[in-house]
Amino acid sequence: MMRVELVKRPQHSALFSALSPFIALGLTLVAGAIMFSLLGKNPLETFYYYFIDPLREMWSLHELAIKAAPLILIAVGLSVCYLSNNWNIGAEGQFIIGAVAGSILPVLFPQFQSWIVLPLMLLMGMAGGAAYAAIPAFLKVRFNTNEILTSLMLVYVAQLFNDWLVRGIWRNPQGMSFPGTAPFHEYAILPEIWPAAGRANWGFVFALVAAVAVWFMLSKMLRGFEVKVLGQSPRAGRFAGFSAPRMVFFAFLVSGALAGLAGISEVSGAIGHLNEKLSIGYGFTAIIVAFLGRLNPLGIVAAGLILALTYLGGEAASISVGLSDKVVRAFQGMLLFFVLGCDTLIHYKIRLVGTPLAKPAEA
């Protein structure tokens, strides 16, 4: 009997660390080419629509920024959580509550129209997301609850709460009984960065600023050192005088605030009103983005853009060569599989271990 084991490499090659994403891309292209050929599509043409066509025109680059912005914002926050060993799986819920909290002003006080509304909405969105993330943090610190479970469960609570609001008390009275709030007034809309060229809004700028700020914090500030020490060795952190419970709150609040900002930016920027279709899994996809970017905020920017490109490219390929959406998703899965697989093999090697046959139990 042979067993496959992953064994940690004593040190990993810097060369292969740098090459790994490209090797992964190459493997994805080979596997994709095989799949597309089997489906009777021309692989080169398909790749062209996937990776080049969406980048050819300005409007499409704006769309890339729209799709990537929430993924990057959320993933940057999650990197702080995961580096400090706090497993926040509930960013989707924090995203929704951020959107709801940020929508309070335009929905409940539509007469309050001033330039101050939008900044307040963004702050309330961040506060809402952070407050919602504080629940699993509190439960973890106070009762030692598993934050993976509590944060995940709170996603469903948030989804149903939002659903209840937009079908019930927040429903647009002019909306023919369909779910969704009334459209936001103009002061509550997040402006586009460069309206002449496309519809990307300031959410993308927030994402870049957040990425640089968190990168600076993680790599240049004592707080960043604290995050990593407590993540890798809580005992060592205690000797250094760092407080683990305070770190739990810090990580969850940062990540909740950024997810909340992503939520209100999506609602006031890309959609223009609060509705029940808001939650399409950005908070979960961002987990992939965080790891794809190796938990480095700058890597996350690249990862977010690449993942967004696979959505846009998949769409372009669907329209132009007639790929079904199942194939598009399978191809996206291949890319993630190869990237994460290659990264794993930088740190680990595969060893085949022969094990003796199990002895029959003694009678």
């Binding site: 025109e57 779910p179 669907s318």
Partner: protein
């Protein structure tokens, strides 16, 4: 690596340029909220698209493009813009949630015609809306249910409390009451359009509460299969689901979009396309009943008579006297409901054994 990528790109560009086929007369594009293999809503729209292409002269005349499972938010707007820029002449957006995106993109591309299904906003002259009176079919189902049910109780699996679904529930109830005034209708809100697991659970719960006829306003075939296992009768949804319940399906409301798609794409070819708001029903051929099956001849006859009455335009299911669930009068005898009220309907008629989620 970089060199390979560049040459790959160049090769791909060459391929792309080489494949520009002879221009069809019109490019019709469809955006679907689900997969075309759902055997329900999106499947029927796609069947209509294929029918239109075939009817109007095949691929040389009508080029089709479509996108499946497009979420109804920021993604829809992008998908529509890509469609508009890729040379679509007419774009059908086949779900309510695409309403704002359709109108936004239509404002930017005045030469492209947009057709939005089930919505009510037409903010630009190049946006038309269309919908079908599915509730006409549900009235016929109600008549059949009341005649077939031994318990006098039917179970209704509903998706979301939007006017169209409420309209269907009420029409079913009114049809049943026209046969048996004491008929009871139980409703379970599945809060999904397509989730076979949840829909099956809803069907089981309704049967356990005494319903011996199941009908659904969700898109999967799961409730039909549960009804078949339990040996009771059921109605299909959106498409003819007889293959999922050969001895179970009484009939099904088939969404027949083909005639409308033929007409509208042809209008683009002929240059006669105009903005409109169409709410077609049995009369226009947009709502079709699947063959009546698994019922005695007298029930079949009653169903056919009801269908004929609605189809001829002689009868509107929403004709008074109708009392609201709370006991107040809605329509006086002979009074016909206003379409505007129906399209925003948010209350039950008397006899529905459920509280409408508000």
């Amino acid at each position: 690596m970089r060199k390979t990528l560049l040459s790959l790109a160049a090769a791909a560009a060459a391929v792309a340029l080489g494949t520009v086929a002879a221009e069809a007369k019109v490019k019709a594009c469809f955006i679907y909220v689900g997969p075309i293999g759902d055997f329900g809503w999106s499947y029927q729209h796609h069947q209509g698209a294929l029918e239109a292409q075939k009817e109007l002269g095949g691929e040389e005349q009508v080029e089709l493009a479509y996108l499946e499972s497009v979420p109804e938010g920021a993604d829809a707007e992008r998908a529509l813009e890509r469609f508009a820029r890729s040379g679509c002449n007419i774009i059908f957006t086949t779900s309510f949630g695409y309403m704002d995106a359709t109108n936004k993109v239509a404002g930017k591309f005045a030469d492209v015609k947009f057709e939005h299904a089930t919505g009510y906003k037409r903010e630009h002259p190049n946006v038309a809306t269309y919908n079908s009176k599915f509730h006409e079919g549900r009235y016929v189902q109600g008549v059949i249910a009341a005649k077939m049910s031994k318990a006098g109780v039917a179970g209704y699996i509903a998706s979301f409390p939007i006017p169209e679904v409420v309209l269907g529930i009420n029409a079913f109830m009114l049809g049943a009451q026209s046969v048996n005034p004491d008929f009871k209708l139980k409703v379970v809100w599945a809060n999904t359009w397509f989730d076979p697991g949840k829909e099956a659970d809803a069907a089981k719960a309704l049967i356990d509460q005494g319903a011996d006829i199941i009908t659904q306003h969700t898109d999967s075939t799961a409730p039909m299969q549960v009804a078949a296992e339990r040996g009771i009768k059921a109605f299909g949804q959106a498409s003819d689901m007889i293959n999922f319940g050969k001895e179970t399906q009484l009939t099904s409301i088939v969404d027949n979009w083909g005639p409308y798609y033929v007409e509208r794409i042809k209008a683009v070819i002929d240059g006669t396309w105009k903005q409109q708001d169409v709410w077609g029903g049995m009369k226009e051929g947009h709502v079709v009943m699947a063959p009546y099956a698994n019922m005695p001849d007298d029930v079949k006859k009653a169903a056919e008579e009801t269908e004929a009455k609605i189809k001829s335009g002689a009868f509107n299911p929403y004709t008074g006297p109708i009392t609201k669930q709370d006991g107040t009068e809605w329509l006086k005898a002979g009074e016909v409901a206003d379409n505007g009220v129906l399209l925003g309907l948010n209350f039950y008629v008397k006899g529905v054994d459920d509280k409408l989620p508000q």
